[in-house]
Symmetry: C2
Subunit: 220 residues, 2 copies
Amino acid sequence: MSPTRIPEATVARLPVYLRALNALLEGDIRTCSSEELATAAGVNSAKLRKDLSHLGSYGTRGVGYDVEYLRYQISREIGLTQDWPVVIVGIGNLGHALANYSGFSSRGFRTVALLDADTSRHGELVAGLQIRPFTELAAIVREHGVAIGVIATPAAAAQSVCDSMVGAGIRSILNFAPSVLSVPEEVDVRMVDLSSELQILAYHEQRKSNGGPDLEGVPA
Amino acid sequence: MSPTRIPEATVARLPVYLRALNALLEGDIRTCSSEELATAAGVNSAKLRKDLSHLGSYGTRGVGYDVEYLRYQISREIGLTQDWPVVIVGIGNLGHALANYSGFSSRGFRTVALLDADTSRHGELVAGLQIRPFTELAAIVREHGVAIGVIATPAAAAQSVCDSMVGAGIRSILNFAPSVLSVPEEVDVRMVDLSSELQILAYHEQRKSNGGPDLEGVPA
DNA sequence: AAGAGTTTGTGAACGCGAGAACAAACTGAG
DNA sequence: CTCAGTTTGTTCTCGCGTTCACAAACTCTT
């Protein structure tokens, strides 16, 4: 099934739908319309329906969607029905938070190792795992079949860590370091930039209060 | 001058350019071409030029851009030349990490208070600030003129915290809780969803290895 | 069984952003 | 001064994503 590629914008929203479906299930809601689900996910209902139509025809006209069934279909499409071993490198404040984040340890993702270059922290217990030397990366990747790596180091170390990950065979990287990574074609990198988000907010906030560096007094 | 609105996609990239310019300055590079800056920022040079053209005409044909001058112009456009007091609510692992994150405390942003509902943590020192009761939110917002709030609480508390923020006069919210927030029209919310990013990676990773979800049932 | 009321899935129109290509503008040498 | 070389700013085209609007399909009542 689903031989056609799913649009990137749709893929980015699937996790949101999944979360909304989980919330509905916790409220013992078994069925929902596209309108309800869209509201819960914070999107337009037409967009939701079109997104779901890319996965297949899992709803019933005149009725709506079976919450559990739809949740399973989306999970399967994303790949959460498989097991994804994950390695986190850089156990500072952020790495510590990520290791304890439930969204990381649940839902098909399994943190198999925490690595740090700082020898003084090796052996320290974080989220039930011992911090191990960064040099063990390749062995761990091989042993557990790790495909996804998380970088939570300072910016200066990020590219070097990234290179090691790629060398060890990791093909998908989630980068929290404020640094642009260069990788081979076949490797996927997603960047989460905490301070960028704040700056984007600041831009809009400035527009709201000032009307921007220049107000709307546009000459005709 | 910038009477025209800057496209949202461009705004989202300005922080990246800013970071790249800072990196160039640290290497004592005073001038750069759009090609060099684009490479450092990880984007296409045509896209970079078009983005910058929305701010104004700050380059010189045949020469390139003055790094420091361009950095100032982008900073001003984003609004980083002003002071932005910020409040962080929810000092768990993630809030702790955010409080210590240099990208938050620098560049025009100033964390003025850390709030948490858990009374047993009040007074605790994090990143040089004492954790204070959540009930003090309104007073703090009024006193410091806080316009930006950061939510790093569990999902269950997020909407309630959000409502309090809006009530206190905050108009821009950065939400790290995995929860869709509903706010009045004039309030801006940006969501940073850590586990979504991981799920998006998993989707692509699955495509790379399997050529798609479960091929079971596919005729040979 | 038929019709009224819902709700999905999709075709079509529209707007925005990406990228290529080029004209305008600057530098420097002869 | 003129011409060759360089690099920006902008125009144009194309493709993707969003949204509207509606037909198809289902349920329920009479």
